[in-house]
């Protein structure tokens, strides 16, 4: 996938094997769109019912925005092969998600790529029974 500019939203329907699972309605997010940003991890909340990865993103104008990417809880992340130590504060990454419809800088985490080693992380893989 060609990377979109920072803050730009690309209209892209992703074929997902497993549905989004949340304690809240998923209608707050636009599952038909994705946004991809590059940034640095500032916090990794490993909590139920959802974990949140905080990512600080610097725009071309020098201003920064902190995005929140929502993922599943710690057990589901473990089932997806995502560990607490994978995203220490300061970790650089590129991350794609389904953005909120109201324009807030938050999204459902679809896939992240860690800059240091190119490893990909997909929380939704955590619902597979294997």
């Amino acid at each position: 996938m060609k990377r979109a500019p920072l803050f730009a939203v690309t209209a892209l329907v992703l074929a997902t094997v497993t549905p989004s699972v949340a304690h809240h309605s998923s209608t707050m997010f636009d599952s038909k769109k994705t946004v991809t940003v590059e940034g640095v991890v500032t916090k990794w909340e490993l909590t139920n019912p959802h974990s949140w990865l905080h990512v600080e993103v610097k725009g071309k104008d020098g201003k920064t925005v902190v995005w929140g990417f929502e993922a599943e809880g710690p057990s589901s992340l473990q089932r997806a092969g995502i560990k607490p130590s994978d995203f220490k504060v300061g970790t650089k990454l590129s991350i794609t998600g389904n953005p909120m419809r109201d324009g807030q800088p938050a999204a459902i985490w679809v896939e992240a790529t860690r800059t240091s080693d190119g490893k990909k992380f997909n929380p939704r893989a955590g619902f597979a029974v294997k």
């Binding site: 699972v21 707050m28 640095v40 500032t42 019912p49 902190v66 710690p74 057990s75 807030q104």
Partner: protein
Amino acid sequence: MTCGKLITGVLGVIALAAGCSGPTEKAAPKPAASVLPEWTKEQKIDLGRQHKTAEALYNALKEQAKGGQKLAPDALPDWRGVYSRPPLNGFTFDPEQAQGSPTTAKLTPEFQAKLAKRVEDLKKGIEWDPISLCRPPGHPRWLTEPFTREFIVTPEQTWLINEMVNDIRRVYTDGRGHLPVEDRVPIPNGDSIGFWDGPRLIIHTNQLMPGIYQRANPDYTEQVETVEIWQKTDDKTLGVDVWVYDPPALTEAWYVRQTYGKLSDPDLRIRYWDCAESSNNSVFQNKEGTTEFKNLNFEKGKP
């Protein structure tokens, strides 16, 4: 147990005749054989139709199983491990209902209309789920949730555990009945009693609260009751046949089959579920009837 001390004189002859020839482990007894027959899916649907209430179906199964058998502590079914429900066709209550197709439940007109409105609202982006406030899903929705599970079997009780909101269903198999009708108060997972028929656990649950089977699925009322037959179908799978009765909402018993697969990660543990750990997970129902985050707050990096 070693039999060395027993093998003396006449006792030794008896012990040898019994096959006790050294320091060997006693073989674990096998669970009792099942009395209830195997049914086809059509026969299971018919069972639901033949019995007008969950209690009637449960009592008929118990009678057919001659009251069931008490589990021996050293012959428990092996339900160990961490399991989860596979996301077949999403998380709809009937896993055999194809995505986007109508429910397989036979609904009364009132509850058909309620379901139609829910689906119509969803198309408009309006959706609210009672679990958004961290309420327990409640049974029978409990069967559908996709998180990790454990099943703890003892002769007197079986615990059916779902990690989500630290949710435990206790099934009493010590011969007790339900609470007297006048003392029943609706609770999320209700009151479950059961009996064993060989490796099969048969459960009757009543005293439940109203809820929804899942999002974009029908509602159920506090009259809902279920009968379940749980059984390990192979080393990695637990299956359960479910009959749901709910006269205000269903015109006949709704039969579905759920399965739970054993997860292979040996380090996987059930984690405590505290819904208030992060304020970013706090939501509310807005004036339009849909869900909004209360106050998203993400942390800036330190300069």
